[in-house]
């Protein structure tokens, strides 16, 4: 059971503060990024009317999520936000899937990854809101329906960041721990691979989609 607690940490001390870096998560994030860059290169290397297999997968993903963003945000805004949404989904999907490979861990099991992605969505949504409604209109939304709702509205907005990031973290971390404990309990060859299939691939896909979709929807709510 030692694996649960053992995190490879790099601790940097500056003055009286110490910064903890989770090296596994950082390395895994870079591996995911490298894989995605490689995929992007392969998919767009020889663009052709008759696409190769990589290009088909890439086109499918981009078309699906472009359409999805367009139907939620409208044609004009989709142009500026869709690339980010597609990239977010691909990053999360690969991050969640990579845990199915032995000796790899999902970067999403470290709370910092979902939290920073959630904060990114939060900042983006509010930036979009200010741009769409102007600063005055944006501030006004916090005093609706009555002035006294200001603190509740503020907490509600912050709670969105918490819920979106902890949702992904809780699901992925829960799955990882269940797999670990079950493999320790039964030493079986059959069940852990099946659990990997379920938690990493199935739940991972759904949660990546939910995270992406919620980011789009939060932008849409701020824009109107």
């Amino acid at each position: 059971m030692n694996e649960i607690g053992g995190i490879y940490q790099l601790i940097v001390r500056i003055g009286e503060y110490s910064f903890h870096f989770n090296l596994t998560a950082i390395a895994m994030t870079w591996i995911v990024i490298a894989l995605l860059l490689f995929f992007g290169y392969m998919a767009s290397r020889r663009r052709h009317v008759l696409p190769n297999s990589m290009q088909v997968v890439g086109e499918l993903l981009v078309a699906q999520f472009y359409g999805l963003t367009e139907s939620t945000l409208g044609k004009e805004r989709a142009k500026s936000y869709a690339p980010l949404i597609v990239a977010l989904f691909m990053f999360l999907l690969l991050s969640n899937w990579i845990g199915a490979i032995p000796h790899m861990t999902e970067p999403t099991t470290d709370l910092n990854t979902p939290l920073s992605l959630g904060l990114m969505g939060f900042v983006l949504a509010h930036y979009a809101g200010i741009r769409a409604k102007g600063f005055k209109g944006y501030i006004k939304t916090y005093f609706e329906p009555i002035v006294f709702m200001l603190p509740m509205n503020l907490i509600g907005e912050l709670a969105k960041v918490i819920s979106i990031s902890f949702r992904l973290f809780g699901n992925m971390m829960g799955g990882a721990i269940i797999i670990l404990v079950v493999s320790h309990l039964i030493y079986s060859l059959v069940l852990p691979p099946f659990l990997y299939l379920f938690f990493s691939l199935f739940i991972g896909t759904i949660q990546a989609f939910v995270f992406t979709m919620l980011t789009v929807v939060y932008i849409a709510v701020q824009v109107d």
Partner: protein
């Protein structure tokens, strides 16, 4: 194990925070589910209004979630202020 005043107050505030958030989460959970169910039904009937329905659903859920957020605030107050 001697139970002193401050210790007792801390213990009570922790257990109070747990109960406040735990029980407070039940109602909004079911309520938001009902909002979601009706929104799905509305989309089934009239798919062309999907964008408007999604936003309406989110606003409705945000409002029904407010009691859950009150619980969260009370729990955090119990944990860090009391």
């Amino acid at each position: 194990m001697a139970i002193e005043g401050v210790d007792l107050i801390h213990a009570a505030s922790y257990i109070g925070a747990g109960i406040a958030m735990g029980l407070g989460a039940i109602g909004p959970g079911v309520g938001e589910g009902m909002v979601g169910a009706k929104a799905c039904e509305a989309i089934g009937r009239n798919p062309s209004e999907a964008a408007l329905l999604t936003r309406t659903m989110l606003v409705g859920q945000a409002v029904s979630e407010s009691t859950g957020i009150y619980s969260l605030v009370v729990a955090l107050l119990l944990l860090f202020v009391v």
